[in-house]
Symmetry: D2
Subunit: 349 residues, 4 copies
């Protein structure tokens, strides 16, 4: 019963099979493997972007930091939500890769920047030499609070960015979860809404460690390649990245797995709604739930071996039963109906 | 017939099996997987270093750059051979990770620094605020020219380093090839000779993409962890790194594969020695050969589909048959006797 | 009538005389001039800190950025007020010098961090490898809003910092203005309150371009020297920095000039209080006033050649007379009673 | 008797007078002072470059590092002579400012790169993603060994650079010494020969601390301004930089002082040539001499208080009288005939 993260689950068998196939014989290194040709073609097809530059790296932080560094000068601000992964969970990787750029934190409820807040923040940069200049905007979709931007909302933020001459990056570590829920196309959620670069996640959704970076305007492609190599993120045996991504994209597995993860989360959310004293902190829109439950519920679940993060600062399992403690519960495709029921049953007591 | 690099070959079945096993069920992320416990214990046992800090990353450049950055201040020189991978093949990753440190290039024949040249180079740094200060020494073993330092030679270089208060790093992308040839222990080739940190390669020797970084003095362990995370090299599904390394170390597979790669290279070198107009540029000591062959020999081999790098600057296959052109030929464990014979036969014409 | 900044005024004659004296004959470069010996001794005496390391640079941003970089790792957060000079007016110099550290913005009214807000912000860093770690706290005294921390308030912030193992930096670009107003000793406002490093400003208070950096614990002195040189802030003809500082400190000129600047500001503030429709935004405590005046008042002043910054975002002098527009008015020691009266009279209309 | 460096001498009275004039009244800060208008116009006139961007900083290292960073990507090589100031005497400032770029050291006798050596070095960069890319070339004129490139030689190096698409920087810390000796125009020695950016020194030639950076193509001007500010090199009381430069350029003082410094050096070199057992290591072409003299000669000079650097590694004044020890002797404009005679007389014994 591991609900700690969608990075706790295994590769899907179809991805594993592709890795095993990728292992056959010899391949030229550093992205010159023959599998990558198919991956590029398929990504361009999915995104309806025949000119896009497509690259693979092994971690989501690498995808984000390299993409942002490619669009930000060292003296720029990068605009992101206060709760974004780039700000909270990357140990300053964007600052490192972008040569000391500054993350400007934008507000908005439920983990979502508002166009008004973004405009106010962007208006504070640039103009004179004294402050930092106006760099790219990074949108996290699914947000770190499990909520979603609509494609219109993404377009509104991109419009603010464009009015300042800034590029737009989409951190899509959970791209598939968002897209399958919004029931839109990959293009709708990205370049049609004004997005210039995407981190397209595979790791959390059935892969072992692979993320695509897609640059719709290939002008920055060579710079990205240099940054990837210099950042030590260019795999020599690149075919194992290509292989994962091939298996992931084939027959729309990526969307199937995301739908399954979202459905698992829906089942869990529905169950939580039926528990006395349980409360959802945000309306879950993908595969991630933030909930409040009495300490006794957590104690039962943890005692039975359930794994997930209790997020109340400084909270321990010792103390009054009734104290409400918040937690994060994440489902990937591999959770079973039974596991979810079991967790709910422990919470119910 | 791919002799381009030891990164052109597949995972060994035992490594692949370990990856498949690692895929079972759920695991806590970011290095907290249960497989890693065994990996750490095994590495410490192999190195007879019970206190060593042991980390995994996916690329050799990451291993080198992170290890060097951990021991070098931004205002330091890092000392390495003029032909080292860190200098020639990492697009400035050491400089990037170490915040702008300077690589000082040390001379010596056959890709090996001499103590005298190292001493002269180190003596030029430090002392006043005007020049860069005296940072770590990085020794490449196997060298980029396919030669080896004896353990005594490593010790002599380390002694020079220590006399300047500097740490010693060993770039062991081909650690196993060196160790099996020298017939020494891992400890002999590292800490007993004065080495403080090792990049211990797996990728080129039967893995998909995994390298261990071993810090014999764990004082810098936490800094290394922060640098790894900030560099975006901490895998969420870390178990796939642990799994590879587990399969690689089990039953001394790593040494068996290195012995096989070296033996393959011996077979190839012996064959080359018997070819008229062929010449070995350095005495091959591990699994990498630099040779000179007439253009006609290259033309025949390439026409038959052989893959390897012709290294004469600006060379093409067009031109007089007799012109000698240099090349690099690398064997991993997966080369067969037949493939080697076939290449030799093409060279012979 | 230049009230734009305290950097708009000239050197005080006593400082200029010292520069002229410093020009005599030859001097060894890079801080080895004989004048610097006296400067170091005098600074240590003023701060009652006989062991302190004392360095000179030419700009306040250099003093701040070098001092903060000396105490912050690249993966650290630096804590400062949302309105601080380091955050708003240095084009990311602290991030540049500290290798990509993150400025965490702390709240508090009147430009002053509160201990509670600082504690909350510091509690968010460190602990795991995922977020940035807990670096130094930077206190701006005089604040960028013209207000002052009491020595007790500085001590309270330092106590929060120390409880997190963090160092404390004081950005004293207007150190003398603060100290003379608080009527405390230099030691009281710094190390006795828990401050580890000070940017001690001269430029805005009668010098041409000189700031001292004082490190009470000399352990970091050599690192600071290397950072200063590497940052290109070590003057070859250092005697001209030493000369300025010598003239500045002699016979307590620095305090006399600050008192005069503060008194000038008091005169201006008193006058503004007597103007209908004028309003002070913060209680001015040193030599900097933020005020609101009707557009007509600004129009009259500007038409007569008064120089100062109108700070209402996007404000122009065109529009209804009554619209209140905010401005910043700064006095240095060189303002005369007449100039201040003249400005007030223009405001009054 | 200070022959240690041309940074040991004072401001020329005309420069000091200009500083005193610059101190009058108030001035807008950060380069918006009225004096700077005249400086820009005069520099453009001198360089016959009406479109050039002209900036002032206080140190030569800042001028070099900022100019190079403006033309080098972090993943680029910067090409310079093995003995250049950028390589030997800036504690890695170019690497720091350029985000970790790599200095590639080019050979050539007498401190001068040869086109052949430059071509060989540039040919090693770029092409693939594995090595660093081809960045700017930095030419030191006067070289660090006191020799000069002819304008033709500069043009030849620039031609090599241009053939690789690279920009050319000229480190002219001793620009005036070179130009007055070559008897050419400023344009001849720079943009007409293919130079894109110049560090134009004032500090060593009669100023207190001011260098101009001249970018002939103003496209990079804004980036340079941001880098200067972010590097903490934008002076608030910029008028004191402008003032120095105004005094320096007025009535060709800069050339007069350089001629005087060169003539002083000629006198000293002529004297040295007449001393038994003295030897000039390079033919001095500007104001800097490298000579070998018996230890006894150094002992006499030092005992009499002469200041200069003995450059033989590890040399001390104790030991056999006859041992030849090398030294560097630098003249600025302020040396007198008597001082030079006195030094020579001490050397003669």
């Amino acid at each position: 019963m591991n609900f700690a993260s969608d990075n706790a689950g295994p590769m899907h068998p179809q991805v594993l099979d592709a890795v095993i196939r990728a292992n056959d014989g010899t391949q030229m290194p550093y992205g010159a493997d023959t599998i990558m040709d198919g991956v590029k073609a398929r990504v361009r097809e999915i995104f309806e972007a025949p000119e896009a530059a497509v690259y693979l790296v092994a971690t989501g932080t690498a995808a984000n930091a390299l993409a942002l560094a490619t669009y930000a000068n060292p003296w720029d601000a990068i605009f992101c939500h206060r709760t974004s992964h780039t700000e909270k969970d990357e140990c300053g990787a964007p600052e490192f890769y972008a040569g000391g750029a500054k993350l400007k934190l934008v507000d908005g409820s439920d983990g979502k920047m508002t166009p008004t807040a973004l405009e106010a923040s962007m208006a504070e940069t640039g103009g004179s030499v004294h402050g930092v200049q106006t760099g790219p905007v990074s949108i996290t979709q699914v947000t770190e609070l499990g909520t979603l931007y609509t494609t219109t909302e993404i377009g509104d933020l991109a419009e603010v960015a464009k009015s300042h001459g800034a590029n737009v990056h989409l951190d899509g570590a959970r791209f598939a979860n968002a897209m399958s829920r919004l029931n839109c196309s990959a293009a709708d959620m990205t370049w049609r809404a004004g997005v210039d670069a995407v981190s397209f996640g595979g790791t959390k959704n059935g892969c072992a460690g692979v993320e695509a970076v897609i640059l719709f305007d290939p002008d920055k492609a060579w710079e990205f390649e240099l940054r990837r190599k210099r950042g030590a993120h260019l795999f020599s045996k690149h075919r194992f990245l290509s292989g994962q991504m091939e298996g992931y994209l084939k027959d729309d597995l990526w969307l199937d797995l995301a739908r399954k993860a979202n459905a698992n989360s829906d089942q869990l959310a529905a169950g939580l709604r039926g528990i006395d004293n349980a409360r959802l902190l945000h309306e879950p829109q993908a595969n991630m739930i933030f909930a409040e439950l009495p300490r006794a519920a957590h104690r039962r679940a943890k005692a039975a071996g359930a794994q997930y993060y209790v997020t109340s600062p400084g909270a321990t399992l010792d103390g009054p039963d009734e104290t409400p403690l918040t937690c994060r519960l994440v489902c990937d495709w591999s959770k079973t109906e039974d596991q979810i029921d079991q967790l709910l049953s422990l919470f119910r007591g």
